[in-house]
Amino acid sequence: MSEILKALAEIVGENYVSYQPEELFFYSRDPGLMPANKPDFVALPKTSVEVQEIIRLAKREKIPIVPMGAGLALTGLVIPLKGGIVVDMKRMNKIIEVNEKARYAVVEGGTSQGFLKSYLEKNYPRLRHSIPDAPPAATIASNVIIHGQGRLTQQYGFNSDMVCGLEVVLPSGEICNIGSSSISSDWFSKGAPLPDLSGLFLGWFGTTGIITKVGLRLYPKKKMRDVEIFVTDNENLVPDMVYEITHTEMIEDVLIFTQPLPMMFKDNHHVSFYLTGDTDEEIEFKRKMVWKALEGFIKSKDGGFMSIPPAMKGSLLEMPQTSASRLADVKKGGGFEYSGPIISVERYPECSRKLVEMSLKYDLAYSGMVRIIGRGHSMMFGFAFTFNRADADMMDRTKKALEEISYYVLDIGGVYWKPTVAEQKIAIERMDPNTRHLMRTVKDVLDPDGIMNPGNWEVY
């Protein structure tokens, strides 16, 4: 062990490696409900070459290596299930390039969402990226590696669809560029017109390599932004409403929330949609188009626009929404966890009913948080429960509710998003055998020693 420690210290500097109980305790868990497991070391590299050296060391010594961004997935993806080295990437937080005219940025693998947002606001006010509602400390690389979603997901798909190139350190220790940057100095594409190799890394949770640079597409940032909420008490109509809203092609983002508190929200479904524009006329035109699209629901008295109080509007317009994090302390207990399957929008009614059913069965406070992906191509339905970290029974009930939901969502056609290890196993079992075999082959080729975030996406 001391030889490994010494080697790590030589790579990253002795101040940036630890095997102390304090770091081992903290880095053995995430804020969610998954059981803890201690790493042997925590290392904080500063460069791709340092990451490369760490991987070579891990390969030589056959010890596991677990890359970590902010550790905010909640599903235990950065918990070192088999010990080894946790590689905290946050010292690699430089914004390397912004190509304004080609609308992309290249950032280091530990760069946070907040850094990029702030940097663009100050230096490129006409550009933006698809920021998720995770806390701003969440890193861009970890978000795309879990196929995260963000503010532009209704328009452009998963945030991983907006990747336009990667630099990856492979389990062999080679540094590899993916996409146009493998040939060109420009990072405009993660694949096309070449074979798209980004799929070997996106969605793999660091089991096939460590992302040290991300090229990310940027999009026009309009001067103005507003939000409207269309409310209905009939969950069966929500898919139709989403269909009409997305048909207008006038919308930035569509979120749906349903929750029992405060009382004004109870039993209602709030389809919130965001409008952007460079002028009042542009915003008003878009607003009118959406209002017109929803007119039928108003006439049939199935829904109506909610008057949004200024404080609430301010909160809804935040990017990221701090209210998403505040949910953790609803029970004055610092915890929330959600199962967020990607599923057809048509499944909204049954998902929302299941959410209420589970909250009653397990006596939990709930929130349904939905983000529309693409033009209604799918949605992330977040079955979210808040829990008190000091209440073991409540934590246990939350786990049970989420486990039950895990099976439920597969049964109704959903696919897990950022699945826990248990969910990964269920998914692999249900997967087409040929797909499973292909995954196994990819993993065997890229990581024959099984050192990369072992325990995750283990296909046998």
């Binding site: 101040n15 940036y16 630890s18 102390q20 109980p21 304090e22 770091e23 305790f25 903290f26 880095y27 804020p31 925590v42 904080l44 902010a70 550790g71 905010l72 905290d88 946050k90 010292r91 946070s112 969402q113 907040g114 850094f115 947002k117 702030s118 940097y119 606001e121 100050k122 806390p135 701003p136 400390a137 701090t322 994090s325 505040r326 953790a328 302390d329 004055k332 207990g333 610092g334 915890g335 929330f336 008190n388 970290r389 000091a390």
Partner: protein, 384 residues
Amino acid sequence: MRYEEIVHRCFRCGYCKLAGDYSDFNCPAYRKFMFETYSPGGRMWLIRAWLNGDIKNSERFQEILYSCATCANCVEHCVFTFSEDLVNIFIAAREELVSTGIIPPPVRDYFKNISISGNPYKEPAEKRGQWAEGSLVEEYKDQEYLFYIGDVGSYDERGKKIAKAVGNLLIKAGLSIGILANKEMCDGNEVKVLGEAGLFEYLAEGNISLFKEKGIKKIITLDPHSFNAFKNDYPEFGGVFEVYHYTQIMAPLMESGKVPLKDLTLRVTYHDPCYLGRHNGEYDAPRRILQSIPGIDFIEMEQSRDNAFCCGGGGGNFFTDILGGGEESPNRIRVKQSLQTGASIIAVACPQCAKMLDDAVKVEELEDKVEVLDIAEIVGRAMA
């Protein structure tokens, strides 16, 4: 432990370690060490682990707790309802460590020196007022204001110069002030934040008793740390006084033109002291003074006001130096941030910040590019 009922409520979302605009890490301890354990959220989780017996009191744990600069960036940016108590929680955990008697040696020595000598410098009380020799400032008799200096202004060479500059300025502005000289006692702010609640109580009661005995009703402090203790902590012990930081008294006087000034062609930026800014909400008074000086080109640092990056001297680190050292030490980062403004002067309103930033300028070998001056020293130059 005090606040034990809150510790488990941290979600470790990380808002606490960022600036308000997310542009950078703004927690000085996290910025230096970069392990999550040194962030406010990490500290919360480790305190809980320690209380639950999952980790033990160790040198590392002590370093994690004592590297907190109590700068309150976390208080400002945490999104939860308990945010106001974050620094209090870290202080409470330090109190628990102190009660075990196992604390970092520099912290132990700090307490010892305060207990034995009444100051961290192990200097005799007779030397407390020596800085005032050759100044216009006299001992307190029945003046309107007590001018309270504090340990750094009384004993530190840089601090003494600032004390003299502020004292002379107050007198020239026509204020009736007096100092306690060798009767002045440590205000106890750092004793409290380092976790020695008993010693703090002793100091607070001693000071309150002395102030009352002297008939003191109004206090002007040199040091924002003293200002904080008198304003926020002394009332709990019956010490209710009219307390001002010197910039608060001077700002309206400067704006009224009572202090005649000549043009000073300088580009100046200002570093907000945490105990004046985030802890007490006073961001404007120092700026008003600077902007009242003709010729000054005042420019803000990107990280200013409630987003100011701490110099690293708070939370007792000025004396214990647990957070100092190395390229990533907060004072060196702060000086580099100030350089981005193109200013040739970093204005400060705290002798601890002055010393911290002065040291960083020297280590970075930037003496020919930038100078650290207290606001009173800048005004003094404009008056000369």
